[in-house]
Structure formats: structure tokens, C-alpha cells
Symmetry: C2
DNA sequence: ATTATTACTGAATGATGATTCAATAATTGT
DNA sequence: ACAATTATTGAATCATCATTCAGTAATAAT
């Protein structure tokens, strides 16, 4: 028995998320969010409490979407190498060439907040832990299929792959030659799997 | 024939640099810089024009110092593997365990400014290009000494090393177990050099 | 139709941001 | 000692920030 919301929260979050993603937490102003979402300040505050909560919800939405893509890559029916390659696509290639912004929202946030906002920092670390767990699962699979280079444990390899993914994400900021990136990904695949590329 | 400056610019820059490094460009306020440098706003503006120029000078100072360390590592008399290891120390280990802040100022800045401030973005990319050139030189040396794994070219390897350095810097944000980091560095050394670790 | 309840609007608020500037202080050259 | 010049001070300025709130609108229940 009251006036209903005139907007769909997820649609608004999607728009806010893109603003935060592009400009960062600190430098995205309420004014920009008002323009992006087409909601007035009062409505934003009514629905999301404040800027920080809106940011947190945006980050969560981003992660949900990313994690769905990752799972789709990791859980597909392909051979392990192909799934690993798909993982690189959704974590690296997509950001460098298939989106106007350069880096993953999680990465950007991790470096922006640092010790500044511990709660958000912990959130991001937990998200990355989930991604790393997916990679670990993929590697265990790959080992069973015999497509993993012997040597290091899947645990260690998962860590190294995470590190390589971060590395590529950052490197694509300083030089975004597509063929160089492809070459580097192939080299990494070479290091971790038994295939040739 | 005028009143002399009562401060040494480099000393002030050093203090400002640490503030920017810790809090980022946008979130470091003039008030904080005034406290850190113990100069009044007017003096800061008199000497450095504005916040942005002060930031740029801070970034340059940071790079000078870092690059000196890098050169010292790369140009030392040791064998190539040892010099590579020293490079990891000054680009990765130092940030993770020997300083209160987690990441390299350059990395932080690269991700903060992105498309937001093209001039600063270009500056950082140029600085990284210089670092990569040093790594390239080291690898050419290593190849002559026979301590580089055959296969990829020094050019490609330099790119991969840069990427791995970025990766480790980021990874140390989400998990800063020192022995894990050491292990990963050793694994990377393994991949690039002919030695065993 | 009326009432209770909740949503929406957008101007107002108060804090804080970067930057400027008039007043004052410390020099050097004459 | 005085004039010319430049540095320092810190309050003032003006823009912008996040947030609130009084007024208005839209719905459901009665």
C-alpha cells in the first residue's frame, strides 16, 4: 500500500557500475551517478543508502557477471587447454580489445582502495580467491587429462596463472598490441600445458 | 636580491611523493600535503604551480630513485641469474615486505589515471618502457653467458618478465605470504634461465 | 473518496576541495 | 639605511562534494 519504485534496481546498478568502473570510486561524483542512472540524489540514497553502498553493490554485480563467464569457460566440455584459453579470453582479452575501458573493475578497485577501505579490500580479495579456486579446479582436471606440464602442483600453478593474468591486465595498459598479447598468452599456455602453440 | 627559499625542493618532493604514493592522486588533498611537507598552500603553489604539477614532480622523483636501483641491479658484476633476481627484489619483494605500502607508485598511478589524464598516463608508460629496456639488456647479456633458456627472443622474454613483475606486484595485494612469493619468483626464474632453484 | 504509506524531486545544507591574494618577512644591491 | 625583489603566511574565495529533507506524487487498503 504505497507508491512503487519506478526503476529496476539491477538496471540502475548496471549503469552505476559502469561509471565506477570507468572513473574509480573516489572520482565518480554523485552528480555523475545521477546523470548516468537518471535517478535523483534522493532516489539513489533511498534505494542504496549512500555512495559507498552503491559502489559495493556495483562491485558485487560486476563480480557476479564476471564469475558467470569464468564458470562457463571453466565448466565447458572442451579439453583443458581450450578451457584455459577461454579463461584468458574472459579475464584478459576482453578487457584489452572488447571494451572501451582497459582494466578489470576488480583490479582497479583493489589498487584504489588498498589500506584505505579495508572492508572493500577484503571483498575484492575474496572474489579473487573464488576465481583462483576455479582455476585450481581446471588445473586438477587438466592434470587428469594429461595436458598439464608435470612439475609444480596445481595449487602453485593456479597462483602463477593468477599472477600472469594480473600481469597481462596491467601490461595491456602500457602496450596494447593485439598480436603481442596473443603471443604472450601462447607462451604462457606453453609453460603450463603439454601442447604446442 | 630577494628572500631565499627556506626549504629544499627535493626534500619537500620526497614528502609529497610519499603522500601521493600512499593515497593516490585524487584522494590526497592539499591539506594533507600541507601537513606532510610543512609548507603552507601559498608556498606549495609558489614552488610547484599546482597540485597536478606537484604530483608529476613527485612521480618523476620516484622514478629516478627506482630506476637508479634497477640500474644498480642490472649493471652489477654478478652473473645474469643473480642480476635478474636482484631486479625482482627491487621491483617486487621491496614493495611487499620492506615498505608499509603495497604497490609501486607507478603501478598505482597507471591504474588510477588511465584515460583520465592522458599526459600522466603517457609519462608512466614511458617510464615502464625504460625499465623494460633495462630488462631487455640484461637478457641479451644472459643469452651471451648461456644462462638464458633457448626459445623465445630476449624481446619477447623481456615483455613476459615485465608482465610477471606486474603480476607479482598485484598478487602480493591479495596474498602476501612471503614464502609463496619466493616460491613463485623461483618458478619464474626457472622458466627463464637455465639454472635450477 | 479518503487515508496511510512509500517513492520521487531537486533545492538546501554543510563539509571539504583547490587555488588565490593581501599582508608581512627576509633577503641583496645600492 | 633604503629600495627592490622575492618568499611566506594563512585566511578568503569559490567550486564542488556527499548527503538530507520538505514538498509533492503515486500507489494500496479501507
Amino acid at each position: 500500500m504505497a507508491r512503487p519504485q519506478t526503476f529496476i534496481e539491477e538496471e540502475v546498478l548496471e549503469k552505476a557500475m559502469h561509471e565506477f568502473w570507468r572513473s574509480g570510486y573516489a572520482t565518480t561524483s554523485i552528480k555523475e551517478l545521477v546523470e548516468a542512472t537518471r535517478l535523483q540524489p534522493g532516489s539513489l540514497y533511498g534505494a542504496f543508502k549512500n555512495k559507498r553502498q552503491l559502489f559495493i553493490r556495483s562491485l558485487e554485480l560486476y563480480f557476479e557477471q564476471l564469475f558467470e563467464d569464468i564458470k562457463q569457460a571453466v565448466d565447458s566440455e572442451d579439453k583443458a587447454e581450450k578451457r584455459l584459453r577461454k579463461l584468458f579470453d574472459c579475464l584478459v582479452v576482453n578487457f584489452s580489445f572488447r571494451s572501451e575501458q582497459k582494466s578489470c573493475f576488480l583490479l582497479r578497485t583493489l589498487l584504489e582502495v588498498q589500506q584505505n577501505d579495508n572492508e572493500i579490500s577484503v571483498m575484492v580479495r575474496r572474489m579473487y580467491a573464488q576465481i583462483e579456486a576455479e582455476i585450481y579446479g581446471l588445473l586438477v582436471d587438466a592434470r587428469l587429462q594429461g595436458s598439464l606440464k608435470p612439475g609444480a602442483s596445481p595449487e602453485i600453478m593456479a597462483r602463477m596463472l593468477m599472477s600472469n593474468i594480473f600481469g597481462l591486465q596491467v601490461y595491456s595498459h602500457i602496450s596494447s598490441e593485439e598480436y603481442e598479447l596473443e603471443q604472450t598468452i601462447n607462451n604462457i599456455m606453453c609453460i603450463f600445458t603439454t601442447n604446442r602453440y
